[in-house]
Amino acid sequence: MPREHLNLHGLNFLIADSNSYFCMICQSILRSFGATKIYEARTAMDVNRTLVEQRIDFLLCDSNLPPDGGLRLTHEIRGSVASEYRTIPILILTSDTRINTINAARDAGANMVVAKPVSVSSLYNRLAWVAFHPRSFVDAPTYFGPDRRFKIEGYPTGVGRRKSDHDDVGHVAESGQAMGQDDIDSLLNLARKG
């Protein structure tokens, strides 16, 4: 099967964002991608309730999700040893693309981070990346989540094949400047130099 085909039919998506209009837009995009079952949550409590009531396969979560933020929620999900959701794919949506936030999302156990406002192609590419490049998880005393150290082989459809892929991510200044999506991808795929 060509790798540019995603079959989202029957998979249960949960969009967690306090902005209902954003959720509606996100729903529309996912339905266009073929998703048929999409749930929404406005708070972390809603997320936890939905995770109990439904069988969720993929979580898209705003980094500012009330009350304590999507990164805290991600960390809690990854830390729930007995939970069936401990390894659920989590995509963090954030308008704060400073390096510290992206690092924090990665360290919380996010599979991928997408910058807001999202573009249709950006969302598709990152879903495809999570789908076709599943990562093993690392279970360590201070971290449970996708292996943060792996060699990238290139994104589906060539996305991510750029010069900066080969740069040491340490070159990204810790200045708190906003980052582009390509740089975010680089940071999540940290050890490409290794």
């Binding site: 540019e4 039919h9 073929g34 789908a131 998880f137 690392v138 360590a140 150290r149 792996f150």
Partner: protein
């Protein structure tokens, strides 16, 4: 391939229902998915204009008129931030980069005031004007049937 973990970590292979089902035959091609999503977003434009009007109204009413000083914990800052963020997060997705740009500037201003900087009311007013200009761009795009950017 994953690298071997260092320290005390253990690598755990993970297989989720998502990863099993997303690779089934069939589905939607990338090109088809993106075209379809763009078309769907295009049909949402009139509704988007209504939503934007409401958000702008709520934002403007949240900012106190005639005030010359603000403290970092003034409740109106948080209220304004909610509406400002909402516009920032969807503007460019709907094809209106100016809306996101102005909303992002206003979010930055509100955040620095919340961090303790003196409130630059003139800068806030400028960004509100930019948002109103962006609203006109939305209206113009609707009138001319312009495609999303």
């Amino acid at each position: 391939m994953p690298n071997a973990p260092g320290g005390d970590g253990t690598v755990v292979p993970v297989s989720t229902r998502f990863h099993s089902l997303v690779r089934r035959p069939g589905g939607v091609s990338r090109e088809q998915a993106i075209q379809s999503a763009e078309a769907h977003l295009g049909t949402m434009q009139p509704q988007f204009a209504d939503w934007l009007d409401r958000e702008l109204e709520l934002l403007i009413s949240a900012i106190p008129a005639g005030q010359t000083e603000a403290t970092s914990d003034d409740p109106w800052l948080a209220a304004a931030h909610v509406h400002c963020r909402a516009m920032r997060d969807v503007g460019a997705t709907m094809g209106f980069e100016l809306l996101t740009f102005a909303a992002n500037n206003l979010c930055d201003i509100i955040e620095i005031v919340q961090a303790g900087v003196d409130c630059p009311f003139d800068a806030i007013e400028s960004q509100i004007n930019a948002l109103l200009l962006a609203r006109k761009e939305v209206a113009r795009a609707l009138l001319t049937g312009a495609r999303r950017g």
